[in-house]
């Protein structure tokens, strides 16, 4: 279980997180929604320990991740994996090396075992016979899939996705959504998906949290989200500009 308590973060006077409280249960998919620039990526990076907060804590099974030193953090990270918004594949490596990089360094698997595992992971994300290509030779959607394969290669317990469907056409976006649901069922992980794509939320999420003005404004099931009366949340979900409603 992940518990975020009173998390504060600012960058040079820009207060991004102003006391985020959020609990994320094991084995479900939680979507974190919010408009662009609201700090969704920043929140995700605190969960995996890439950023340190000014105040507050992210507890992972009762341990405060944000207080850990580098070595302890390393062990935590082996339980988590993150799929970055721009895929963030290593462009100096082949696809196989990208997916297998953690296996090479953090396990005692032989080369053949690693190669088999890499092929298996690529299989799960629906990619075949691309091991020897370089990331630049793939389309954006395929790069996202490789990033997902890289994330699941080390069998993490928690998967973090940063805007997995942003920048993809609706068909590819939906196939990524299906893939997230498929992996969720197959691997029995805890998934946290940051997105501003409501269609994606409807398809994949069990729970939803709405990040607004540096705090969690809404937390609940997708059903509760649909029934919510909160104007700001409604506007976000229906894609209405706040200024327009004020003017009306």
């Amino acid at each position: 279980m992940i518990e975020i308590k009173q998390l504060f973060k600012r960058f040079e006077g820009n207060e991004v997180l102003r006391g985020v409280d959020l609990t994320i249960g094991k084995g479900h998919t939680t979507a974190i929604i919010g408009s662009s620039g609201s700090g969704k990526s920043v929140l995700l990076k605190h969960i995996i320990g890439l950023l340190k907060p000014e105040a507050g804590c992210v507890f992972l099974d009762g341990v405060c991740v944000t207080d850990l030193n580098y070595e302890q953090l390393k062990d935590v990270r082996k339980k988590m994996a993150m799929v970055f918004q721009g895929a963030a594949l290593f462009d100096s490596m082949t696809i196989a090396e990208n997916v297998g990089i953690g296996l090479y360094s953090h396990t005692r698997m032989s080369r053949e075992q690693i190669a088999r595992r890499v092929t298996e992971c690529l299989d799960w994300v629906g990619l075949h016979k691309i091991e020897k290509l370089s990331p630049a030779e793939l389309s954006g959607g395929m790069q996202k899939r490789v990033a997902i394969a890289r994330a699941i290669a080390m069998e993490p317990e928690i998967l973090l996705y940063d805007e997995p469907t942003t920048g993809l056409d609706p068909i590819r976006a939906n196939s990524i959504n299906d893939l997230i649901v498929h992996l969720q069922n197959k691997l029995d992980v805890t998934s946290i998906v940051v997105t501003h794509d409501m269609n994606s939320v409807e398809r994949i999420a069990d729970f939803v949290a709405f990040l607004h003005n540096g705090r969690i404004r809404f937390e609940g099931t997708v059903q509760e989200l649909r029934e919510s009366e909160d104007v700001i949340l409604r506007n976000f979900v229906e894609g209405v500009d706040e200024v327009e409603t004020l003017a009306a």
């Binding site: 990076k45 995996i48 890439l50 580098y70 390393k74 062990d75 990270r77 082996k78 988590m80 994996a81 993150m82 970055f84 918004q85 721009g86 963030a88 594949l89 290593f90 462009d91 990089i101 953690g102 360094s105 953090h106 890289r150 080390m154």
Partner: protein, 259 residues
């Protein structure tokens, strides 16, 4: 007036702020030297890129430095200054100063900018974050191999530069001046001492470390897309050049000053 002070104050603050962050990176790099298992496999590739690929430009610079040294000094020799001393001028000028400093300045641009751009791209495309989430230490993985390669390869390149520079200086001397090969090397040897070797080696060793560290620093701290990467490359080249001239002075003062 207050504006001037505020500007200076900001500059000062920025300078020490960066100095502090750079010190932090230096400390992390030193600590990561223990991760031999991770970086040892990566040093070779960097040595190839930093060292071997810089060899042509190094040879080009040194060749011209040698010729220019001879041609410009040649008119100072007359009946009072014997011509064989050109060997002395070339040997001291090339070995003690030009081989390391010219090579360093040009490679600050070539190596420094390319490292900063490469790591800067990795930073803004979140590849460095990705490395970290995969439980890798980006310092041992990206910075240490580059710094080690630079620190080892710069002295090698400087040896090449010294050798080439003295050779072209000598060839120019025997073709445009009234000296023979024997006289040239008599002049060169008469005043040669071990500092002609220690100085360029000490300089190039530090230049290699400084250029790669500065470039890694700017690369790691770049932000804001393609523009940020460009800025990082420019800053890396400029800061390295300034650092080289400063270190050049420092080493000369430390090694040559008679206490």
């Amino acid at each position: 007036m207050t504006l001037v002070f505020r500007f200076l104050g900001q500059r000062f603050y920025h300078f020490f702020y960066h100095l502090g962050c750079f010190g932090d990176l230096l400390w992390k790099t030193a600590k990561s030297l223990g991760d031999f298992k991770i970086y040892s496999a990566l040093v070779g590739e960097q040595m190839l890129r930093i060292g071997v690929q810089s060899l042509p430009i190094t040879i080009y610079i040194a060749a011209f430095a040698g010729m220019v040294t001879t041609i410009q000094s040649s008119e100072n020799f007359d009946q009072f200054v014997p011509a064989y001393l050109i060997g002395f001028v070339v040997e001291k000028g090339i070995l003690r100063e030009l081989s390391a400093v010219l090579t360093g300045l040009v490679l600050a641009g070539r190596v420094g900018a390319s490292i900063a751009a490469e790591l800067g791209t990795m930073r803004v495309t979140e590849q460095i974050d990705a490395l970290e989430t995969l439980a890798f230490n980006p310092v041992s993985y990206l910075i240490v191999p580059r710094v080690i390669a630079g620190t080892l390869m710069f002295p090698v390149l400087t040896i090449f530069a010294g050798f080439i520079g003295v050779t072209t200086g000598w060839l120019s001397a025997i073709s445009i001046m009234n000296v023979t090969t024997v006289e040239f090397f008599k002049g060169a040897r008469e005043f040669a001492d071990n500092k002609d070797f220690i100085l360029p080696m000490a300089k190039s060793f530090l230049f290699g470390a400084a250029i790669t560290l500065i470039a890694c620093y700017h690369g790691f701290n770049s932000k804001g897309g393609a523009e940020g990467v460009g800025n990082a490359a420019t800053k890396a080249a400029v800061t390295s050049c300034l650092m080289i001239l400063f270190l050049d002075f420092l080493i000369a003062a430390l090694i040559l000053f008679k206490y």
